[in-house]
């Protein structure tokens, strides 16, 4: 009888304990994120979809050689001698015409190795991670353009010409070994 009463009381009391816990959580802020309208901030240096700025590419092919999975394919040919000289935004003259620059994102392993050797910083990772498609071939991104607007003068010379002439006579003190 005593054990029975104890059992009944324990059954009732433990239900109350459980109800207290759910009651607590009733007022807890939800952890759900309404995904398409609200997104988590991405961590710095997150590596998502590759992008290549065609106007800055000098066709050196270092990214193609760096890629461990060979997802970048590139075709270059010499620019004709009579073509106007063009420059990349970082100042390198563009000597080669890039006729095809394809990145197959279905092969890409997001290692970021292609972006380091690029002398003009024209290939880089973007924070766009929502590019799922129903067709695998749609992951082949073609970056070569026919109507690219190249820089027709050397940006370094232009910057030097536009810079204010009052250059400091004594450069800021810097450590000798820097």
């Amino acid at each position: 009888m005593r054990q029975w009463l104890k059992d009944v009381w324990e059954g009732f009391f433990t239900v109350l304990v459980g109800m207290r816990i759910t009651w607590r959580h009733l007022f807890t802020r939800s952890v759900t994120l309404q995904y398409p309208s609200v997104k988590w901030p991405l961590p710095p240096k997150s590596r998502m979809r590759l992008f290549m700025k065609f106007e800055d590419c000098i066709g050196c092919g270092q990214c193609v050689r760096a890629c461990p999975v060979a997802c970048i394919s590139m075709k270059t040919e010499k620019r004709p001698a009579d073509a106007p000289p063009i420059w990349a935004a970082s100042g390198q003259p563009i000597k080669l015409h890039v006729s095809a620059f394809d990145i197959d994102m279905s092969l890409c392993c997001y290692c970021n190795l292609c972006t380091y050797p690029c002398p003009t910083f024209c290939i880089y990772m973007t924070p766009d991670y929502e590019f799922a498609t129903s067709n695998l071939t749609e992951h082949l991104y073609r970056f070569a353009k026919q109507d690219a607007q190249f820089l027709l003068e050397d940006p370094k010379k232009k910057a030097a010409a536009e810079a204010p002439p009052a250059a400091p006579s004594n450069p800021p003190a810097s450590p000798a070994g820097a």
Partner: protein
């Protein structure tokens, strides 16, 4: 019907001069129409509320996409259910298969005939009210067994058998506990049972014979919960053991009828519980019974029933499903002895001619007990909020602060 007739005549005196058939049609048909629509549409609200409560208890948001805060979600679901094909698998007994969900609904809807929403706002004031409710709601068991048998499916039959065993077992303690208010009042009519609790909160049956009636209330609530086949007593449709129990083979409209019946039963059981123990349509204080010219009885019954429905949902998302043997243990070895002892005790106490309100201390118990309960809930709530704040400090969101709604993080 007489009560409705009196109510309607009170509203429009010309009705008294109408021919008899018109009077019968309007005083029986109007409440039936109103109640049917009320009960057919409230499950939409119930399902939305249940999904939201479940979500909040699990730190989720619940339906958010269809309409503002997802309020149209259940309407979309209902439309989808109604337009889905009703599949009749090969081998089902088609006649019984169709009749079963209707029969379950009959058991769920007919108790509304006697539920009093006000002194005159009651479809029919039967003198066997409580008995009628428990008798008619037992019909749904027949419907469940019929559904299980007609489905020609082992899981459906298991579910039906379990529900029969469960409902028949729990009828006994619940009927015994129904006897307690009936012993005090000396009438089975729900109207009389309600009116016997007049005089504010302290004269509700919940606070009579102080330690006895709260125990009876808890026991009755548990038994009622089991009779509606709700969690934690939902073994007839235990999806982890039987696929979906008695409604495994049902789809579309007939499946939605089972849903309708379940939620209607929840409301009926809560309404009956509040009539028996919480004063039915009576306000916690007589001054709140009338809001200007508007009688508030319907609101109080609705409010009490909904509070109990909320507790049912709360329990559902708190407790795991009980085993079959535990279920039977609770019915036969816990509720039944307690109910018997309480009936005997109250039967003796009723004979004591102490005061008009039973025990001398009864009138002093109600308010302090309510204040204690409300204070307890407030303290628990405040502590829950503090706990949440501490928890959020200690467990920051990954990636710094949580972005505000509408902000697109880049």
């Amino acid at each position: 019907m007489d009560a409705t007739y009196a109510f309607l005549v009170g509203l429009v005196p010309e009705i008294a001069g109408w021919p008899a058939w018109a009077i019968v049609a309007i005083s029986a048909g109007l409440p039936a129409l109103i109640l049917f629509h009320f009960m057919a549409l409230t499950p939409l609200v119930y399902v939305y509320g249940e999904r939201k409560i479940a979500a909040f208890m699990q730190d989720r948001l619940g339906p958010m996409r269809v309409g503002p805060y997802g309020v149209l979600q259940t309407i979309a679901d209902a439309i989808k259910l109604l337009f889905k094909e009703a599949i009749f698998p090969r081998g089902v007994d088609r006649k019984l298969f169709v009749i079963a969900p209707l029969l379950v609904n009959v058991g769920a809807f007919l108790p509304f005939v006697v539920i009093p929403w006000g002194a005159r706002l009651q479809p029919a004031d039967l003198n066997v009210g409580v008995f009628y409710v428990s008798a008619i709601s037992a019909i749904s068991t027949v419907g469940l067994i019929m559904a299980g048998w007609a489905s020609n499916n082992k899981y459906a039959l298991f579910g039906a058998m379990r529900s029969a065993a469960q409902i028949v077992s729990y009828e006994i303690p619940s009927l015994l506990i129904i006897l307690i208010p009936v012993l005090i009042v000396g009438s089975l009519s729900l109207q009389d049972l309600t009116l016997a609790q007049q005089g504010g909160l302290q004269s509700w049956f919940l606070f009579r014979y102080f330690p006895i009636m709260p125990v009876a209330f808890v026991c009755f609530f548990v038994a009622a919960l089991a009779e509606t086949n709700r969690a934690p007593f939902d073994i007839p449709e235990a999806e982890s053991e039987l696929v979906a129990g008695f409604h495994t083979e049902y789809s579309g409209f007939f499946f939605s009828l089972f849903f309708l019946a379940e939620y209607t039963e929840m409301f009926v059981v809560s309404a009956v519980t509040s009539v028996l123990f919480l004063g039915g349509y009576l306000a916690p204080h007589p001054a709140l019974q009338q809001l200007g010219p508007l009688p508030m009885g319907w609101f109080w019954l609705w409010f009490k029933a909904w509070s109990l429905v909320f507790v049912m949902m709360w329990l559902r998302w708190t407790l795991p499903r009980s085993r079959v043997d535990q279920l039977m243990y609770i019915a036969w070895k816990v509720l039944l002895p307690i109910a018997l002892v309480l009936v005997v005790l109250v039967g003796g106490l009723v004979l004591v001619p102490a005061t008009a309100n039973g025990f001398p201390w009864d009138r002093y118990v109600g308010w302090p007990l309510t204040l204690l309960l409300v204070g307890f809930l407030l303290v628990v709530m405040i502590r829950a909020l503090q706990w949440n704040r501490r928890r959020e400090r200690e467990l920051p969101y990954p990636g710094g602060a949580a972005p505000a709604a509408g902000q697109v993080a880049r």
